[in-house]
């Protein structure tokens, strides 16, 4: 696939989603980057900011199958992955696998933190292995496959925070911020008038093949060894227990319990590649890395009690890390 084709499709997708979603340009772009990088996204924001609408618009624009799972405390794993049901065909009774809502290209896991850890973990295998196992039998998920989970930072009573292992499986964690006054006016204009906009389908009917080609191209994007080294140094610098040049008084040592995993470094590189392609370039620059460090690492570094007590965010720690790690 030609880079130009990628950029054309990417820009059209962005434009179509923007028809529905007002503002959140960065979120839209990063969701698309994560999608073409083959990752999953965790969207965090208060209710009513358009998280679900964004995911629906994306799936609509992509023209691929979309399923939504509303996570509740009584949701069972089988409600997600599917189960064997007894069926009778021509007088013969047999168990037949009935697919759950996870069998779709785009899966919206709405308010994922409301389900029990047992149910949450049912999504783990699907996200990582792109397959589910029911009664000892594995069922592959169709590619492309992306889980877009949302969670609400408020109303935390009766919720089950995602375990670190599951958080690590999300490629990006995106923060959906409230709209600005101008954006809010535009939202009102679009949603309270007689006509409501909807995104058009961008990809052709065989969109899945095109998406796979685009995913392949993203991985071919050139990256200079010094930039790879920069990413390694950034990820390494988030480790509070290693001798990585962080002084005892540095924010990393002071506020972090655990640093980013190698998956974090992979996410940074792939995200930077996606960012470069989206920016009509076939090579990664330092700037691309800096742009994707936050969404790729913010949920992979674990704050300690001190940080939570002082209301220090992971983004603040990452900003310090980027400041400390030299580029060359």
């Amino acid at each position: 696939m030609e880079p130009e084709k990628f950029q054309e499709v990417f820009k059209r997708l962005e434009a179509e989603i923007r028809k529905v979603i007002v503002g959140h340009d960065d979120v839209i772009r990063q969701v698309l980057i994560a999608f073409f990088a083959g990752g999953h996204v965790l969207l965090e924001g208060v209710p009513g900011l358009g998280k679900t609408l964004l995911v629906k618009s994306l799936s609509h624009a992509l023209g691929i199958s979309f399923k939504r799972i509303q996570f509740t405390p009584d949701l069972m794993p089988s409600d997600i992955v599917g189960t064997e049901v007894l069926t009778e065909t021509n007088g013969r009774r047999e168990f037949q696998f009935k697919q759950g809502p996870i069998f779709a290209h785009v899966v919206l896991a709405d308010e994922i933190n409301r389900a029990t850890p047992k149910t949450q973990s049912a999504v783990l295998e699907a996200m990582e292995e792109k397959q589910v196992t029911v009664f000892g039998e594995s069922h592959a998920l169709e590619s492309p496959f992306i889980v877009l989970a949302t969670q609400n930072p408020i109303e935390l009573e009766g919720t089950y925070p995602l375990p670190e292992a599951q958080l690590d499986r999300f490629f990006f964690k995106l923060m959906v911020a409230p709209p600005s006054p101008a954006e809010l006016r535009e939202i009102l204009k679009r949603t309270t008038g007689a006509e409501t906009g909807d995104s058009a389908k961008v990809l052709p009917d065989d969109g899945g093949r095109l998406i796979r080609q685009m995913q392949q191209l993203l991985r071919q994007v050139l990256i200079a060894p010094p930039i790879e080294d920069y990413v390694v140094r950034i990820v390494h610098a988030t480790q509070p227990h290693l001798d990585n040049g962080n002084s005892s008084g540095s924010p990393v040592k002071h506020y972090l319990r655990f640093g980013a995993s190698p998956r974090g470094a992979q996410a940074v590189i792939l995200g930077a590649k996606g960012h470069a392609l989206a920016d009509s370039r076939v090579h990664v620059s330092y700037e691309d890395v800096s742009r994707v460090v936050y969404p790729a690492l913010r949920h992979r570094i674990i704050l300690n009690f001190q940080a939570e007590a002082e209301n220090v965010s992971t983004d603040q720690i990452l900003a310090e890390v980027i400041k400390q790690v030299p580029r060359a």
């Binding site: 071919q220 050139l222 330092y286």
Partner: protein, 461 residues
């Protein structure tokens, strides 16, 4: 136009050319940093050779050593400044706002990469390179380090230049016979002064000899001075006058130096102030007593009566006496004022000094020797008896300085009072307590109010 060939080639080649250019810059930087100190070092070496401070062979060794050190310094500096290829690519990226295109191109060379993407990236980079000219964008600029090096070197050179006359004069002062020899050589060129020149040469040779004693040297210098002064009176030619003046000043300098050298060891011996009433006790006495404080202290502490007696009026014992004074000085560093080694020695030292270098007018000292009390006499016999003529109470002594603790002195004399304690003012006795005649011995005298230190028991009742 000249940049045309430079604009040819792939972006990677052009980055390579930039690396070569930056290497040249690094070489210049290294050379410029070390050139000023090297030049200054060579100049100093040459100056030293010219001044005759270092031998030609030393210069021959020193020159190549300096150059070699400079060479190694330049190489070492150059090696640290050699730019990496990625660094050069990064510089081009910055200049062309290429978003790390050149860095990517120069660093992915040799690794398997998708050819279409590399070709595309190369095309983009080449298009960006059209915008810049390396000569214009990366000219050689003199670094600040060179300015620091230059100013530092110039400062060092200036310091050397201005400190040389001082050092030279010091050197000349340190070798006076050389100075005289130099003048003698100049004088030898004039036939009229040939004899004088020979004498000066001989003098210089003698001054150099360690076997010649200091008084002899001084005598020789005096003689030479007289001869030169006589000759100067006779001379009419200005050149000869100048030469003789030069010789005179050299000799006078030498004489002064000799005088100083003689004084210094004498001053080191310390001194004694107490003792005789005579003020003109002689030159040696002056030397000894130059330090009043020392003298007083030694008088307080010289406690060996035996030594005092033997030393009295005996110049041969002077050495011993001096050593006892030195000992006294050493002891003075100990803070305890009631040490038992104080006492009669003070009296002794006072007398002893009178005994040395006596002059005809020193009657008192002569008398003191004649009136010396018997060695083993009890302390009472050493005082004048009522009706006898004499001052001070002690036979054969002008006065004895004894430092008493203040309160005791006041109590003993009743003359001094300690003032209002609130004001912390003290009144001291006007007359030295030790100079007052001792009261006659009264057997039924009341007991002492306060226990006196042992050493004062025989003197103060």
């Amino acid at each position: 136009m000249s940049s045309r060939p430079q604009n040819q080639g792939s972006p990677e080649q052009r980055v390579g050319r930039l690396v070569a250019r930056l290497r040249n810059h690094a070489l210049w930087d290294s050379l410029l940093i070390f050139s000023p100190p090297l030049l200054v070092a060579i100049c100093i070496a040459a100056y030293c050779h010219h001044a005759g401070w270092i031998a030609p062979l030393t210069l021959l060794l020193l020159g190549p050593t300096i150059v070699g050190l400079g060479f190694f310094a330049v190489v070492a500096r150059y090696r640290t400044l050699i730019p990496a290829r990625n660094f050069a690519a990064h510089l081009v990226d910055e200049k062309t706002d290429a978003k790390d295109r050149f860095l990517t191109l120069s660093s992915i060379q040799g690794s398997p990469q998708p050819a279409p993407l590399v070709a595309r990236l190369r095309g983009e980079a080449a298009a960006l390179l059209e915008r810049i000219d390396f000569r214009r964008e990366f000219p050689y600029r003199i670094k600040r380090s060179f300015c620091w090096s230059l100013s530092g070197s110039l400062l060092a050179a200036a310091l050397f230049y201005f400190s040389m006359p001082l050092a030279e004069s010091r050197l000349r002062q340190a070798l006076p016979h050389e100075n005289i020899r130099e003048v003698a050589e100049k004088m030898a060129r004039q036939p009229r002064l040939l004899g004088l020149a020979d004498r000066l040469q001989t003098l210089a040779a003698k001054l150099q000899q360690t076997s010649v004693q200091e008084p002899e040297k001084r005598t020789l210098i005096h003689q030479a001075l007289e001869q030169i002064e006589n000759q100067q009176k006779k001379e009419k030619e200005k050149e000869s006058q100048d030469l003789l003046g030069e010789a005179l000043s050299a000799l006078r300098g030498l004489e002064e130096q000799s005088g100083r050298q003689q004084k210094e060891p004498a001053e080191d011996g310390g001194g004694i102030q107490s003792g005789t009433a005579d003020e003109d006790a002689g030159k040696g006495q002056k030397n000894q007593g130059s330090d009043g404080a020392k003298g007083e202290r030694s008088a307080e502490r010289g406690n060996d009566p035996q030594k005092g007696k033997t030393a009295r009026g005996d110049s041969k014992e002077q050495g011993k006496e001096q050593s006892s004074q030195a000992e006294g000085e050493k002891r003075s560093e100990q803070p305890d004022p009631n040490k038992s080694d104080k006492g009669p020695g003070a009296e002794v030292t006072g007398k002893t000094r009178g005994g040395r270098e006596e002059k005809p007018g020193q009657e008192k000292l002569g008398r003191s020797r004649a009136e010396e009390p018997p060695r083993d006499a009890p302390p009472a016999e050493r005082f004048y008896k009522p009706g006898e003529q004499g001052k001070g109470g002690v036979k054969g002594a002008g006065y004895v300085t004894v430092q008493l603790p203040e309160e005791m002195a006041v109590e003993a004399k009743g003359e001094g009072t300690i003032g209002n304690p609130a004001k912390e003012t003290k009144t001291y006795p006007k007359v030295p307590v030790s100079n007052t005649p001792l009261p006659a011995h009264v057997p039924d005298a009341p007991a002492e109010k306060q226990q006196l230190p042992l050493e004062y028991r025989g003197i103060i009742r």
